[in-house]
């Protein structure tokens, strides 16, 4: 029985490695094609009107910088309308944004601050903006996400490649405060891997895109046709991504579009941010799980399968394998003092070779993890350094393990929300820092 449990756990981990390998292979193929490309800024055939929405809840620390970055975008000023929503703020967010808009150089810009007192969180703000939108596209930037000068240009350029099929385009988000401490360095590495490996791979292989919540544009008419964003959703971006795929449309990756955002600098803020994301993603997966077995778009099935495996099956396997490891270590320590106590999870003394093979597999997992990070770093000039490798090794045994706790907490929380009919949509605000 014990051997069976160990074999099932190992096969689960191999399956997880297989999925990672497919993703990494897709990303490598993408970057082998794109690593020689020089991207020029050439005039677009046309410049659609974009309404940029900035949902801001108590963002006085960062809102001024973000506002200025948006107003400096390399895009015709008469084709950009900016709406900053100070959503249920009890700080100086609205005032600081207005101070920027009142500068002489921005006087003639189509930009305003709206002080909102309503419900629905970020999704509520986006739905309110949708009612006011007369631009062809709505663009979204979080209050802490400073777009690079050409961010919007690249999003529009991508979407114009196939405006009928591509109803949305998304870029990447870099960490502004990456060097602040060990936590932000790990978060930065994780984000670089997610965006340079995962996002590029799934777009390249399957034309699947995931709206990241910031630095994206979406067709206004399309959003109206699907009824807008899900009010109160913890992860409104994942929810709308599934709806877009379900309708057969695509979310295109504009890999050159960049924005700079702040990441949590304290463990407490990080934990509750990730808990919200995990809960939101579990809710979306549970909502879409039925489509695995019914007639639906194959991309939705693939994404639901991927999320289900990652958040349920592989997490369970990692928790089980960690439990087996800790049990073996505990019993081994006891065995040193009392040789009669046997280590529980083994294949027996005659199977030393299997134990050594399994140890080698464990090393291979770490190597694959580091390879993802070094390949992601290699795609950016000057980023592939030895420091990244040491950081990757340190984060594998520390930062990465946090996700196990987060996902267990999220599963329990989602289950309790349903059983006790609690409001699971409350979220803890991430603290911002002046930089």
């Amino acid at each position: 029985m014990i051997e069976f449990v160990m074999i099932v756990t190992l096969i689960s981990i191999w399956s997880s490695l297989l999925m990672s390998s497919i993703t990494l292979g897709g990303a490598v193929h993408f970057w082998l094609e794109h690593s020689r490309k020089i991207v020029d800024i050439v005039p677009l055939k046309r410049y659609p009107v974009i309404m940029i929405v900035v949902p801001a809840h108590n963002e006085e620390v960062v809102i001024a910088q973000t506002t200025q970055s948006i107003l400096k975008l390399n895009y015709p000023a008469d084709k950009v309308e900016l709406l900053i929503f100070a959503d249920n703020c009890n700080d100086q967010t609205a005032q600081r944004a207005r101070t920027v808009l009142q500068l002489p150089k921005y006087e003639k810009r189509k930009a305003k601050v709206i002080e909102r007192h309503g419900s629905g969180g970020k999704a509520g703000v986006l739905n309110d903006a949708l009612k006011m939108a007369h631009g062809e596209y709505i663009g979204v930037y979080d209050a802490d996400a400073m777009p690079e000068k050409n961010a919007l240009y690249f999003l529009v350029r991508k979407i114009l490649e196939n405006p009928t099929r591509y109803v949305a385009a998304f870029g990447r988000n870099k960490t502004r405060n990456a060097e602040q401490n060990f936590l932000t360095k790990c978060i930065n590495q994780e984000i670089v891997v997610t965006q340079r490996i995962q996002h590029c791979a799934i777009w390249h292989l399957f034309k699947i895109g995931r709206i990241p919540g910031t630095n994206f544009i979406i067709q206004s008419k399309y959003v109206r046709s699907i009824g807008g964003w899900a009010n109160g959703a913890l992860t409104e971006d994942t929810d709308i991504s599934f709806k877009i795929m379900q309708s057969g449309k695509l979310i295109a990756l504009a890999y050159n579009s960049e924005a700079f955002q702040q990441e949590p600098e304290r463990l407490h803020d990080y934990y509750y941010q990730r808990l919200r994301w995990a809960k939101g993603n579990y809710q979306v997966v549970l909502k879409n799980f039925k489509y695995l077995f019914r007639k639906s778009n194959w991309r939705v099935k693939l994404e639901t399968f991927y999320y289900s495996c990652t958040f349920f099956w592989f997490n369970a396997a990692i928790v089980l394998s960690d439990a087996i490891f800790l049990a073996n270590v505990g019993f081994w320590i006891v065995h040193l003092f009392n040789p009669q106590v046997m280590i529980p999870f083994t294949f027996g003394e005659s199977n030393i070779l299997i134990a050594q093979l399994l140890l080698f597999n464990w090393l291979l997992m770490i190597i694959l993890y580091i390879l993802q990070i070094t390949i992601a770093a290699a795609t950016q000039f000057g980023q592939a350094t030895n420091k990244q490798i040491w950081l990757a090794l340190a984060s594998y045994f520390t930062y990465s393990q946090l996700f196990i706790i987060v996902s267990i907490h999220a599963v329990i929380s989602v289950a309790l929300d349903r059983l006790l009919r609690r409001d699971g949509t409350k979220w803890v605000k991430t603290k911002r820092f002046a930089d």
Binding site: V28, L32, I38, I354, N361, L364, L368, I375, A378, A384
Partner: protein
């Protein structure tokens, strides 16, 4: 069952090991291409 599992584990391990070697080589290819492309662009901009 353990013997079957041992041979399965051996094959899977070898596949992952060879794959890791291939990825390591391709990583260097990507690295050199990105560095060379970026440095060429920078030197051309300096000349202009």
């Amino acid at each position: 069952m353990i013997r079957i599992f041992f041979w399965l584990a051996m094959v899977i391990t070898m596949i992952f090991f060879i794959q890791a070697l291939i990825f390591a080589v391709l990583q260097w290819v990507i690295y050199f291409r990105v560095e060379r492309t970026t440095l060429n662009v920078k030197s051309e901009r300096k000349k202009q």
